[in-house]
């Protein structure tokens, strides 16, 4: 049963399996284990990023397409919810309309991207998507009548999943049972379902062909696979999953703006997570997103401790100052490329073999 759920793609390493179980349990009981608004926000961000990164892995790790326009689809999902909720009000219908509209837009755009990816060389494609993504971001901040411009949109969602809704006055295990909690579990279920779906896709015959195309497109075509069809399908699927992740983000934040869902920074974070986690493994997305988002969210707090400990050494405390948290994030980038060339999952699996 479990095997079937995981599409027979078992973690293939005890340590990895244990890590995964820890992450899933941790996320499932996050509101109770880690009380507080901040912790819950971090957990929700982890959920969103797991889906987003896994969807990118579908494209990069399995299909070998390097695209910097992935956050574009993430943004479309987020804007779909945001614009619909702003225009149509805080109803379930509005959310569905927004989600549906976003999926359609993503479908069309990603179809074009998929077809285009075959026409030009890989680096060129990467650079073109980089330019397109930045143009899209500019566009989003220019169309301020629709998107709220650079300030973005703050909106309301149905009462049931808003923090102000309390469905029990009595806190349960010290946690107040409110709309925010419900919203979290809504995201949790969505993330589990989406990740399992992606796992299934990459382990289907389709997924294997994608890997073959990534390895040697020429030969894949020669043994009878229509590369165009496969690539385009993969691009569309991955865009749709990213759109869903974007919608999850907007639902959680009840805010969206260009920097929140479209920025190049997010794209780079996603890329880094895929690489630290382990490309072409989906599980890598789960582990990588969890570690990275937590590290990113608590780095400043950590540095605060560090710099007060190092207050005797002025230059060290300048470097350890929480203001310079990005410096350490950069160091994290460099070190993770140095020490996890095949990602955490790759590393654990090799260990399990050796």
């Amino acid at each position: 049963m479990l095997k079937r759920l995981l599409s027979h793609d078992s973690p293939r390493s005890h340590l990895l399996a244990m890590l995964l179980i820890t992450v899933v349990l941790g996320l499932a009981f996050a509101p109770f284990i880690f009380p507080g608004v901040k912790a819950l926000s971090v957990a929700a961000k982890v959920l969103v990023f797991i889906v987003l990164v896994a969807s990118f892995d579908l494209l990069l790790g399995y299909t070998g397409i390097v695209s910097f326009a992935h956050t574009m689809f993430f943004g479309i999902g987020a804007y779909g919810i945001a614009i619909a909720a702003t225009r149509l009000g805080a109803g379930w219908g509005a959310m569905l309309v927004g989600l549906g509209g976003a999926l359609v837009v993503s479908l069309v755009l990603s179809f074009a991207v998929g077809l285009f990816s075959l026409r030009v060389r890989a680096i060129f494609f990467a650079m073109i998507t980089l330019a397109v993504a930045s143009a899209f971001q500019t566009l989003a901040s220019q169309l301020s009548d629709i998107t709220g411009g650079e300030d973005g949109l703050t909106f309301k969602l149905p009462e049931l999943i808003s923090p102000s809704f309390e469905f029990s006055d009595e806190p349960f295990l010290g946690v107040s049972l409110d709309g925010r909690l419900l919203c979290y579990y809504f995201l949790f279920v969505a993330a589990v379902v989406l990740v399992l779906a992606m796992l299934r896709i990459v382990n289907s015959p389709f997924g294997r062909v994608l890997q073959a195309i990534r390895e040697n497109e020429f030969r894949a075509e020669a043994i009878g696979y229509r590369v165009v069809v496969y690539r385009t399908t993969a691009a569309v699927l991955s865009a749709l999953f990213a759109t869903l992740a974007g919608a999850m983000l907007a639902i959680w934040l009840r805010y969206n703006g260009p920097d929140t869902s479209l920025s190049f920074e997010i794209m780079v974070d996603v890329l880094l997570i895929v690489v630290i986690g382990g490309m072409g493994t989906i599980y890598g997305a789960v582990i990588g997103a969890t570690l990275f988002v937590i590290a990113q969210s608590y780095l400043q707090d950590l540095l605060k401790l560090g710099s007060s400990a190092a207050s005797d050494l002025p230059w060290l405390s300048a470097l350890l100052s929480p203001d310079r948290w990005l410096l350490w994030l950069g160091v994290l980038f460099v070190l993770s490329v140095y020490y996890f060339p095949t990602g955490i999952v790759g590393r654990l699996r090799t260990r399990a073999l050796g």
Binding site: H8, S204, G207, Q211, E215, N216, I223, Y230
Partner: protein, 255 residues
């Protein structure tokens, strides 16, 4: 019956294959020989669709293949192994073969785009792949990645992928190049086996004349892209054009 009519390709001013018309019947093994750069590989590329012909047509059993993509031609029954090894380097040996098996099964389009069934349920595919690996003595290395195989094993795998496609037409491009005398017979045996099946058409590009002499039912000679000789092996080898253009000034080799 595989047929090419006036098949031609130009690269800029250079005519690499020049109006080659030829038919290949099932049950025969035709060797294609000619000097380096004569256009043999290019001729293969035109047949299997890797290159688009500047002029001329290719047809299989009367059905025109012109304009079809390489993958469509594979489904129509053409199979091809490459001169320079061309595999999926970071996948395992088994997966390489299994992918080829999958491509042929029950219409690859339907199967391939099946997003939902699970790979490991396809035991039949794995069984078939295993059989093929056993035939070429690579079963022991089935979980090794292709990139770590020595050159000779890669050549064998190249042939295994072709076998997995179970085509009507087999095209071998120097299948034993760089293989040593002890290993090459494994490949040659496979080709001999194939020859027994009279429904298969086999095309073989090969520079080793002893191999050609032993296996070929017929030889065609390409020179500067043009078909210059066609016929019975012994006759063709003895013909002056082959002696001079191909075997060179020292005809002792041919004897």
């Amino acid at each position: 019956m595989l047929e090419t009519k006036d098949l031609t390709i130009r690269f800029g001013g250079h005519v690499a294959v020049n109006a080659v018309s030829c038919a290949f019947a099932p049950g025969t093994l035709t060797a294609i020989v000619g000097p380096n750069g004569a256009g043999k590989t290019t001729y293969f590329n035109l047949i299997s669709g890797q290159l688009k012909a500047s002029a001329g047509t290719v047809s299989l059993d009367g059905k025109s293949l012109s304009g079809m993509s390489p993958s469509a031609r594979t489904h129509a029954g053409l199979g091809r192994a490459f001169q320079l090894t061309n595999l999926f380097p970071n996948l395992t040996v088994l997966e390489n073969v299994r992918l080829a098996v999958q491509a042929t099964r029950a219409g690859a389009h339907r199967h391939g785009l099946n997003l939902w069934s699970i790979w490991s349920d396809h035991r039949a595919l794995t069984r078939r792949a295993d059989e093929l690996l056993a035939q070429i003595n690579l079963k022991a290395k089935e979980h090794a990645t292709v990139a770590s195989l020595p050159h000779g094993d890669q050549r064998k795998l190249e042939v295994a992928l072709l076998m997995a496609l179970e085509p009507k037409v087999f095209m071998f491009d120097e299948p034993t190049a760089g293989m040593n005398a002890a290993e090459a017979p494994v490949i040659l045996d496979l080709i001999r086996q194939l020859k027994k099946d009279k429904s298969k058409t086999i095309l073989l590009v090969e520079h080793k004349m002893d191999v050609v002499r032993e296996l070929a039912d017929r030889i065609i000679v390409l020179h500067n892209g043009t078909l210059v000789a066609d016929g019975d092996p012994a006759e063709v080898i003895a013909s002056p054009v082959v002696q001079e253009a191909y075997l060179g000034v020292a005809p002792k080799e041919a004897a």
